[in-house]
């Protein structure tokens, strides 16, 4: 059935986008810190997973390793560049992280070569249903995305920790007066965001080969998901991922890469013209 095939492809594409964007949601959606290196964090996660897998580690360990490495990288990034500048200037973190992102991708290119790596599908099985073949791993990803979205929603919108984070984001000074350790909280959030990005890179690596230039497409998609969904709520991320996943699939089935890229540009332009202004005023 074409309909079911399309629906499952759409769910898989949206899940991929959501998993990649979740880390950015914490950092950019909530804290409004533009981490232009997010895509490269995801890329780094993928590369770490590939390296770990080549040493024979089980897939779950690869994902964990990716999360830890990228989490550590984001700690360094925070300590060196973002922590001090976060409140005073929105431009410096943007530029600095852009530079760091390019450093990461260049570093990967220099160390690992430009040709890219791939990670083998840990499940490797597919099943047939109603005349089409579906990969089990992709369906697992959909489940992971759902669980991720639910956990994020509960954590941010239904717990005390989440309340403190939302308080800090709304009014930093006032939340400090109420005893929130803002510096620590941001660093923790950034760390978790980095871990999520790394894990995402590892989880998404089996789907397609990655090369040092893949970072920018991860960045662009993630930013678009966060912006499109309205920045503050998990539900927004989900809807942003759904819209983008659906849109991209729709365009992708009918045309070539060039048109898809141009269409992306057009969509970004339209979103900016009609929506982004209000949410991103700094």
């Amino acid at each position: 059935m074409i309909g079911l095939q399309f629906f499952i492809d759409f769910m898989v594409a949206s899940s991929v986008l959501l998993i990649a964007a979740m880390g950015l949601f914490l950092v950019f959606g909530l804290y409004r810190v533009v981490n232009m290196a997010h895509g490269e964090f995801v890329l780094l996660g993928g590369y770490v997973a590939a390296q770990m897998q080549s040493t024979g580690a089980p897939f779950a360990v690869c994902v964990l390793a990716a999360a830890v490495v990228v989490g550590f990288a984001s700690l360094v990034l925070d300590a060196a560049l973002i922590g001090r500048q976060r409140l005073s200037s929105s431009l410096t973190p943007l530029l600095a992280t852009w530079g760091v992102g390019l450093l990461i991708s260049q570093g990967i290119r220099l160390i690992m070569g430009p040709t890219g790596v791939s990670v083998t599908d840990p499940v490797g099985r597919s099943f047939e249903f109603a005349g089409s073949v579906y990969s089990v791993y992709q369906l697992i990803l959909v489940f992971i995305a759902i669980i991720l979205a639910l956990s994020a929603w509960i954590l941010i919108h239904r717990t005390k920790i989440g309340l403190r984070v939302r308080a800090q984001v709304t009014n930093e000074t006032l939340s400090e007066l109420h005893g929130v350790n803002t510096r620590l909280q941001f660093s923790t959030a950034f760390f978790i965001g980095g871990m999520l990005a790394g894990a995402a890179g590892a989880l998404l690596a089996p789907l397609a080969a990655i090369n040092p230039s893949s970072g920018s497409s991860f960045s662009i998609s993630s930013f678009m998901v966060v912006i499109m969904g309205g920045m503050n709520h998990v539900a927004g991320q989900v809807s942003g991922a759904l819209v983008m996943g659906g849109g991209r699939n729709l365009i992708g089935t009918f045309s070539s890469v060039t048109i898809a890229t141009l269409a992306t540009l057009l969509i970004v332009a339209l979103i900016l013209a009609f929506r982004g202004k209000d949410d991103l005023v700094d």
Binding site: V34, A80, L81, Q85, S90, L91, T92, L94, L95, A96, W98, G99, V100, L102, L103, S105, Q106, G107, R109, L110, S213, S216, S217, S219, I220, F223, M224, I227, S256, V257, T258, T261, L262, T264, L265, V268, A269, L272, A273, G276, K277, L280, V281, D282
Partner: protein, 313 residues
């Protein structure tokens, strides 16, 4: 020497400095061998591009993560026009017009009346990726991933003779940028830092920004078109991350807002890049990335001495 520099009114400092550099380039052009002329022309071309981008970024407060887009478009336009047999001057003019409209269009779509740094930066990022994609995928007209090669200087000139024509064009473009910056200096700073105040005085920050991008696109396109006979080829990687990052590195190192600082940084760093050689370009890019991050984090005013800076906020 210092007293000579101090004698120049602040207002014309940038004009004077750029004239100096271009005169030096002119003199070198008389005596230098061809490969050196090519290197110098690349340096000057990028200098002009850096100056134009700094006009937008430093004075205008517009963060454009794809400043090399119109440069690349300029090279392609010139190459295509030459392939079609149209006189070169039209190539340069068209490149200027196309570049201007392109950047002005970006600004008009992507900028809002108030501050809107992030979404416009993202937009330009997506744009540069898109342009690279377009250039790679179109084989019949744009040469695909090989690009368009065999671009030669117009009017049957040799490289070294064309160099003087190129310097003339660059000088004109520099003059445009510097004149715009000095004439509209206070308005630009006002709309950059306090758009509400600017609006209440009757200036529309968005129109000013669109105008700045228009000029920047014009200069970028024109200098790209004028430059391409030296490199001889228009290729898709001009739209990639590296050239765009390099422009921002030059602005960061040279001091954003000073116009001349980025120009000089571009000229010097490009010559260094040539010296290091194209085989090391990956390492060079890595080093430039580190330099960029370092400068942005610790030297927001840039690395050049402060007496070259004009009085700023």
């Amino acid at each position: 020497m210092i007293s000579l520099i101090r004698a120049i009114p602040q207002k014309y400092m940038n004009h004077a400095l750029m004239v100096c550099v271009l005169i030096i380039a002119l003199l070198i052009g008389f005596v230098a061998p061809e490969y050196f002329v090519v290197m110098l022309s690349t340096a000057v071309a990028f200098g002009v591009l850096a100056a134009a981008t700094d006009l937008c970024f430093g004075s205008g407060g517009i963060l454009n993560l794809g400043p090399a887009i119109t440069f690349g478009v300029g090279t392609y336009v010139a190459a295509v026009f030459q392939k079609l047999g149209i006189p070169y001057i039209f190539g340069i003019l068209s490149a200027a017009v196309i570049g201007a409209i392109l950047f002005a269009g970006f600004a008009w779509i992507g900028l809002s009346r108030r501050r809107s740094t992030i979404q416009f930066a993202l937009f330009t990022l997506v744009a540069s990726v898109s342009f690279e994609q377009i250039a790679i995928s179109n084989y019949s007209f744009l040469g695909g991933s090989n690009g368009l090669a065999n671009v030669v200087p117009p009017f049957g000139l040799g490289i070294q003779d064309y160099f003087f024509v190129f310097l003339l064009i660059s000088a004109t473009l520099c003059w445009l940028v510097v004149e715009c910056e000095s004439r509209f200096d206070s308005i630009l700073i006002l709309q950059r830092d306090e758009p509400e105040k600017a609006e209440s005085l009757g200036f529309d920050p968005k129109s000013i920004k669109v105008g700045l991008m228009f000029l920047s696109g014009l200069v970028g396109g024109a200098v790209g078109a004028a430059f391409v006979p030296f490199s001889g080829i228009a290729y898709p990687a001009q739209f990639a991350a590296m050239p765009n990052l390099l422009v921002l590195v030059w602005i960061a190192v040279g001091g954003r807002g000073t116009i001349f600082g980025p120009f000089l940084a571009a000229v010097l760093l490009t010559m260094v890049q040539f010296e290091i050689g194209s085989t090391n370009s990956d390492v060079y890019l890595f080093v430039m990335g580190m330099l960029f991050v370092f400068v942005v984090a610790f030297f927001p005013k840039g690395l050049l001495p402060s007496h070259l800076h004009r009085r700023r906020d």
